[in-house]
């Protein structure tokens, strides 16, 4: 059998490298060692403790002799001091006389070996060899590389063609393997790659054409700038962050109900687009609420803290979930920022990494004092929440309005403007007021007379929201009436939604509706100036384009003043109404008009608000103790103060012991891991693979960086550049490393591309596959932000799983433009995400994911070729080709130009042409089939196009969309 020969030959080749011997036989290892052999060529000069020895100790010895050794005085091998300790009759490592080291003796001892014969993990020969060598060299310990803060070194200037330091480091490493850069990718492929990597979409045809015709030396740089400044950039980059922080639109556990959190997602997009310095990006998310006078965005960003899945299952024990929610946050912090698995230390001191049981709970303590209840109440507004406009574009205006309101209130200084006696003596008589039952008419024409009294019916729910009593459509009206009893002369504020022709009367007096923005927006806030006594109020609600139930509210802020006996308990907006009261004690300040104008706008905007979960701390922190075995009901020891992992330094001196202090530590220059972990993930999304290939684990058991100096350089450079992310991405995509061709290189034996001697190449993510198709078909809706969208989905998927009481059991598909929004905005139900996402390796977002798998399955083929949205894309793309091209050739050119940024190769053209001919014949003979195919999806087909021709092109487009021409990055 030939393969044995092959295998043996390979083995002989490799055996030069003694360190690799042990791994050859194991199937999994064969691959990685072969790669090593090809590109690393270990030299046995100085042993690198962190890289060569510590992983062995950690994997094979620490299980008993590690940081979590339970027995007192048991030998530990995780520090030099412990390992060299004189233990009476022996020393594990004897630096003075290495041959007498117990460790050395025992690993070779056949009678009483270490690890013991029954241990799960045994040492390989090569590992024994390495350990022996190390002990003989004195058994020096060094800190694990990731726990030592990075420093910048200068790359060797290997070549004058290198673009920047990145190339310097990469090239130096290539040289060690006697390789060189690959040729630069062709211009078109490079444009496609750049656009996909930065924005998640291919270059626009005009962009591509301009770039192809631009021979200026800075043409590429200018294209980079275009991509970096596209709003699509932020959307695409945000997606990776949302995977890491496990963003979802539902609570995630049990009922898996809706959760109000999408403004956080929109903030992440905005932050990437505006290139918010990354230290701020981190700080705002962890502790924006604790910054002085936090802005709307700083507060919104704390949605990060609230992202853990939650439950409100009947019978669940709150204390248990208080612990579980914080386990989740602590461990997610570990994955997202520290590249550390924290889970082990929940129950006991970490076996491998120097993280103690109490370290874990000190970190846990930062999160344990947030004020939300541990049960979500299955509520969308699982407080604390922040009210924000649904559309992120309105955030600045809203914030400005709030600021204006606050400035006015500050200016008015209500507390000192009127004595408290005067205030209370005005408020007290005005407490307590009541309204009778409400009546309404049927919906009548706008100009019809008011219906007779017998046609009035009682209506439940007012003041407030009268369910199942819709606001009339334009051209119609409805009348409401009630009696209002007020105890003294005063102003009451009436609000409701209605068209321009709405009106209010008290008794026989018609009240003028205030004009202004509120009026235009069909929101009305009407001051009713009333004398003591009983009044009949009648409202005519004119038809409005805004749908929804009738909502009428009455506000008497004096009542609240009288009840709470203080002004500061009142909501600022209610204080504004006090100020706006023309008869009240504050009228003398002459601010009534200004206050009412703001109140009007404020009220109008309120209808466009939604809520987003945010973090807030309790006034008095919760006590945190170590939990034995991670059991919520088994606290042990003293109460702990919040604190950071000892092995990664300490809280900066003046940092508060709260989440803000935690953020200070994360963004501190002394922090050894955060910048490395984050920049490694940036590298991973630009180049397809990280410099550390276990981006979720920088611990002792993780992978050693392929380019440690480059990683460190990037981490420090980023901080030197004030955490400017676009700068770093600019550096990466400008590098010669990025610009190389992705073509396979026979001469470079590096299948995993560990030395980056060719450009990135891999299958695109689920979201990109969908967006790219929608874009090519010309149906992608560029609208940004807002509530998650629900595209086509096979029916019954949610119902099959959902609790009958869940408010996400019915998948109500959207229609119109919302079907064609970017995939970033697809509604994320955590217990059942969209199947086309799951099919292409999107995570569930129940837990943090910093690296998606890239699988290859038959079900993906079915999805690509049969799913409704894919077919609709195909036929819309077919339509576009028919419209924009003049013959088969120009149409195929356009198709390939859109999807591959190039013309088809002859073999590709031939394959497509063949399919086209076959399908033309086929659909000419079966026009009904053609019509059926062209009826898939919501958009009506262009009936001016010949049906069989359109169907044939649909098949060609669908096929090319599913092919590697489209679905790969290259």
């Amino acid at each position: 059998m030939n393969w044995i020969v092959d295998f043996k030959r390979k083995r002989r080749d490799l055996s030069r490298c003694s360190a690799l011997l042990g791994g050859l036989v194991a199937c999994g290892i064969l691959f990685s060692t072969t790669i090593q052999a090809a590109v690393t060529e270990e030299a046995n000069v100085d042993l690198d403790f962190a890289r060569q020895i510590l992983p062995i100790l950690s994997d094979k010895c620490f299980v008993c002799h590690g940081p979590d050794t339970r027995k007192k005085n048991f030998l530990r091998l995780d520090s030099f001091e412990a390992a060299t300790e004189d233990r009476g009759d022996y020393q594990a490592i004897n630096p003075a006389d290495p041959e007498k080291s117990e460790l050395l003796l025992r690993i070779h001892d056949t009678d009483d070996p270490m690890p013991p014969e029954d241990a799960e993990k045994q040492l390989s020969d090569s590992e024994k060899e390495l350990l022996s060598q190390w002990v003989r060299q004195g058994g020096d310990y060094a800190k694990h590389w990731a726990f030592v803060p990075p420093t910048k070194s200068k790359p060797a200037k290997t070549d004058e063609t290198i673009q920047n330091e990145i190339d310097g480091f990469i090239h130096a490493r290539m040289r060690e393997s006697e390789a060189d850069f690959a040729a630069e990718a062709d211009k078109a492929s490079l444009a496609r790659r750049l656009a996909l990597v930065l924005t998640g979409l291919p270059p626009e045809p005009e962009q591509l054409a301009a770039f192809m015709g631009d021979n200026a030396p800075d043409a590429y740089e200018r294209l980079v700038e275009e991509m970096l400044s596209s709003p699509r950039y932020g959307e695409h980059q945000a997606r990776y962050w949302l995977d890491a922080v496990r963003y979802g639109d539902t609570h995630g556990l049990h009922l898996d109900n809706r959760r109000g959190i999408y403004p956080y997602r929109d903030w992440v997009v905005k932050a990437f687009n505006e290139n918010l310095p990354f230290d701020d990006f981190i700080t705002w998310q962890l502790a924006g609420d604790l910054l002085p006078n936090p802005t709307l965005e700083q507060t919104l960003a704390t949605g990060y803290v609230r992202m853990n899945p939650t439950t409100s299952e009947g019978g669940a024990i709150p204390l248990e979930f208080q612990a579980k929610n914080n386990f989740d946050r602590t461990e997610t912090l570990g994955t997202v920022f520290l590249g550390m698995t924290m889970t082990c230390s929940r129950c006991h001191t970490h076996k491998y990494d120097p993280i103690t049981h109490s370290d874990y709970y000190k970190l846990f303590a930062f999160f344990n004092s947030t004020s939300e209840s541990s049960m979500d109440g299955n509520s969308y507004e699982y407080g604390p929440t922040l009210k924000v406009p649904k559309d992120p574009a309105s955030w600045p205006a809203w914030e400005e309005l709030l600021a204006k309101r606050d400035r006015l209130l500050t200016r008015a200084s209500l507390g000192s403007a009127v004595s408290s006696e005067a205030l209370m003596s005005y408020a007290e008589p005005r407490r307590g007021w009541s309204s009778s039952d409400w009546e309404k008419t049927a919906i009548v024409g706008l100009n019809d007379p008011i219906p007779n009294s017998e046609d009035w019916k009682e209506v439940k729910g007012l003041p407030g929201k009268a369910r199942r009593n819709p606001v009339p459509r334009p051209g119609k009206a409805v009348y409401l009436s009630f009696q209002l009893a007020v105890p003294a002369d005063q102003v009451l504020w009436l609000s409701f939604v209605g068209g321009k022709a709405s009106s209010v009367s008290v008794g026989d007096n018609q009240i003028d509706l205030p004009s202004g923005s509120a009026y235009e927006q069909q929101e009305h806030l009407v001051p009713l100036s009333l004398e003591e006594g009983i009044h009949t109020v009648r409202i005519r609600i004119a038809g409005s384009s805004r749908s929804g139930d009738i909502e009428v509210r009455l506000k008497n802020p004096w009542d609240q003043v009288a009840k709470s006996k203080a002004l500061d308990k009142l909501d600022p907006s209610d204080r504004l109404l006090l100020l706006a009261d023309p008869n009240g004690p504050f009228a003398t300040l002459n601010l009534t008009t200004a206050a009412e104008a703001i109140a009007q706008r404020f009220f109008a905007e309120s209808a466009n608000l939604t809520t987003s979960l945010v973090a807030k701390d309790l006034d008095k922190p919760r006590e945190t103790k170590v939990l034995r075995r991670g059991e919520y009901n088994l606290p042990i020891g003293e109460a702990l103060e919040p604190g950071v992992l000892k092995v990664m330094g300490s809280l900066p001196q003046d940092a508060p012991k709260n989440r803000l202090g935690l953020a200070r530590w994360l963004t501190d220059r002394e922090n050894p891991v955060v910048a490395r972990v984050l920049i490694n993930r940036v590298w991973q999304r630009i180049f397809g693979i990280g410099l550390v290939r276990s981006p979720e684990d920088f611990g002792v058991q993780g992978q050693y960086p392929t380019h440690p100096q480059l990683l460190d350089w990037l981490a420090v450079e980023w901080q030197d550049r004030d955490w400017d992310l676009k700068e770093m991405i600019r550096l990466m995509v400008s590098s010669r490393t990025f610009r190389q061709s992705s073509q396979w290189r026979d001469a470079v034996k590096d299948p995993e591309n560990r030395i980056f001697a060719r450009g990135p190449s891999h299958r695109l993510d689920a979201e990109v596959l969908r967006d790219l198709g929608l874009w090519a078909a010309g149906v992608l809706d560029p609208h940004m932000g807002g509530e998650g969208v629900k595209p086509y989905q096979p029916s019954g998927l949610w119902m099959a799983l959902a609790h009958p009481a869940s408010n996400t059991k019915q998948y109500v598909q959207d229609s119109g433009r919302r079907l064609y929004r970017r995939s970033l905005y697809v509604y994320w139900k955590r217990t059942s995400p969209h199947p086309m996402m799951t099919l292409f390796d999107a995570p569930s977002r129940e837990s943090s994911c910093v690296r998606r798998s890239r699988t290859n399955t038959p079900l993906q083929s079915l999805g690509l070729l049969n799913e409704t949205q894919r077919i609709e894309m195909g036929r819309m793309l077919g339509e576009r080709l028919l419209r924009e091209g003049i013959d088969d050739n120009t149409r195929l050119d356009l198709l390939f130009s859109l999807l591959a940024s190039r013309s088809p190769m002859p073999s590709e053209r031939l394959a497509c042409q063949n399919l086209l001919e076959t399908m033309r014949q086929r659909y000419k003979n079966a026009p009904d089939d053609a019509t059926a195919l062209l009826s898939t999806g919501e958009i009506a087909r262009d009936t001016s196009l010949e049906v069989s021709e359109h169907a044939a092109w649909t098949q060609v487009a669908t096929t090319v969309l599913a092919s590697d021409v489209s679905i790969l990055l290259y």
């Binding site: 036989v25 199937c27 999994g28 019978g315 024990i317 891999h762 099919l839 699988t855 059926a932 195919l933």
Partner: protein, 528 residues
């Protein structure tokens, strides 16, 4: 060097795809690809020509470790000889009442409405639903008649709610002493299916797929069905058949009774099978051209996946087409088996799937969460599952398939012996009860016709032989004889499939994760 990748086969330790496959990087040298192919042939223990490149690619790209065993053909296991090649797990979501089905407590008949004695409760926590109820914890004896059925020991008592299953007594291995720590649905079902109460870990089925791969090339290796119930209470979650941090190709594939049996299986309207053939030929040509440009072996694998999809489009409808089933099938499973989505139909599908080489089938049946009106709900639930479960065993047996097919029946916990809500002799409700519940297994190498473990006279605690309560605490070093923690159940299922649960690991975040975490003991007493 990377020592984490340095190991030898004799230790049979396995690494995540980070090291062993191409999910992180999909560009490989054709020469190396050839080498891999060769290695695969060796591991599969049979000629690649016999199995076809597509299947190989699938198995491998699925990171299936079964490849590393002694070959997949015989399903002979990963670490040791397998007793079972297949597993069919009938999951009763919501928590069936052991007290009204399998755990006969005659003494409780005289204790109607008496309070659960403190010494029995032993200070155990009670869910928030009954912790403060005014009536306290009044005992609710089962209203159902139990009958003793001959097995291979002293017989097994089964309630009148499960007349068909009772007749299978000689095949069943009934474990009365199953227990868990989780007290609410979401954590409990996540725990029993993934080994952790907090979401994020791979499911039992994903572990089986990862460890053993697939046995056929036309159907998915791991299939999940949802059976209809009149009381679809409580939620299910994708995570129960999901892959957590493992690559997503190990996830359970839903076989649905509504729409396409497998998502996106059918061609769109106006596209025939021969149209699809023409599309696939074009796809292959396009992908081949791409391959010539980039020499990326993933491309070839993708061509194979498209072909597999094409085969599935034929094999799945064939699977779902019951016209070839003889009348006696429907006598056995009941006419209900003709009703798509019924539990009986799912059982029949399960047999057909296993017959076609699918390794792992799970049927989820909801509606067992009987906090109130237990009799009405459980009567309906039992009627749903009884005949189908019994028929499945019989059917497998008469086809000679029961020997290597393990059938498991059970929920995420049991129900309390005290009543929740109003209590009468005829009507009552029961709260969640993690401290003991009944799971039965059949076939696949378990001892037939036995019962195992017992509970106290109240069905509240697991009990010693003499009936005195015990309080087993799961301990990774020591197993308490007579008990079956859910980790033990999973360890035992894995063992029967030829997998050592302590050695099937997946490295993520520097840790070698296991289905059973650091727990679980194979219960040898249950194995034939």
């Amino acid at each position: 060097m990377d020592t984490s990748g340095d190991d030898s086969l004799s230790e049979r330790r396995f690494y995540p795809p980070l090291l062993i496959n191409s999910t992180t990087t999909n560009t490989m040298n054709p020469l190396r690809e050839h080498e891999l192919m060769m290695t695969r042939r060796h591991f599969f223990g049979r000629s690649a020509l016999g199995l076809g490149t597509a299947a190989l690619a699938n198995l491998w790209d699925g990171n299936a470790l079964g490849a590393a065993g002694t070959g997949i053909g015989g399903g002979s296991g990963l670490h040791h000889a397998a007793k079972a090649k297949h597993v069919i797990y009938l999951f009763m979501s919501g928590g069936p009442s052991h007290l009204d089905t399998w755990d006969h407590k005659p003494k409780m008949q005289d204790m109607f409405n008496e309070q659960l004695p403190d010494h029995i409760r032993g200070g155990q926590r009670v869910t928030g639903m009954t912790a403060n109820q005014k009536s306290g914890l009044p005992l609710a004896p089962s209203k159902y008649k139990f009958t003793r059925h001959e097995n291979n020991q002293d017989g097994v008592w089964v309630s009148e709610l499960l007349p068909h299953t009772a007749k299978m007594a000689k095949e069943l291995c009934v474990v009365h002493s199953t227990f868990t720590e989780a007290i609410n649905h979401d954590p409990a079902i996540t725990y029993i299916q993934t080994g952790s109460q907090i979401p994020g870990r791979p499911s039992l089925g994903a572990w089986v797929s990862y460890g053993l791969g697939s046995l056929n090339e036309n159907l998915p290796g791991y299939v999940v069905m949802h059976a209809k119930s009149k009381f679809p209470e409580q939620s299910l979650f994708n995570r129960l058949w999901g892959t957590g941090f493992m690559p997503s190709d190990h996830q359970g594939i839903l076989l649905r009774s509504q729409g396409d049996p497998v998502l996106f299986l059918s061609n769109p309207d106006g596209v025939t099978r021969s149209d699809r053939r023409a599309q696939l030929d074009t796809l292959a040509a396009l992908n081949q051209a791409q391959h010539e440009r980039f020499a990326d072996p993933e491309v070839l694998s993708r061509i194979a996946q498209h072909e597999m999809a094409y085969k599935m489009q034929a094999s799945v409808p064939e699977l779902m087409d019951l016209s070839g089933e003889k009348d006696d099938t429907f006598e056995l499973y009941g006419e209900e088996a003709r009703n798509p989505g019924s539990f009986a139909a799912c059982c029949l599908n399960a047999r057909r799937l296993v017959e076609r080489g699918v390794r792992n089938v799970q049927i989820f049946h909801r509606g067992w969460d009987a906090h109130g009106n237990l009799p009405k709900e459980h009567e309906s639930q039992c009627a749903d599952v009884d005949q189908g479960s019994a028929a499945l065993i019989q059917d497998l047996k008469r086809r000679g398939m029961l020997d290597d097919t393990l059938v498991v029946w059970g929920g995420e916990f049991g129900r309390t012996s005290y009543c929740q809500g109003n209590l009468t002799r005829e009507n009552y409700g029961r709260d969640h009860h993690p401290r003991c519940f009944t799971v039965w297994m059949a076939g696949g190498g378990v001892k037939p016709g036995i019962t195992y473990g017992k509970t106290d006279d109240y069905g509240y605690n697991i009990a010693h032989e003499d009936g005195t309560p015990m309080d087993p605490i799961p301990n990774k070093e020591k197993w308490t004889p007579g008990t079956m923690h859910i980790h033990d159940l999973n360890a035992t299922i894995m063992h029967l499939l030829g997998v050592d649960h302590t050695r099937l690991t997946y490295r993520y975040q520097g840790r070698d994760f296991r289905l059973t975490d650091v727990h679980g003991h194979v219960i040898k007493d249950l194995i034939a």
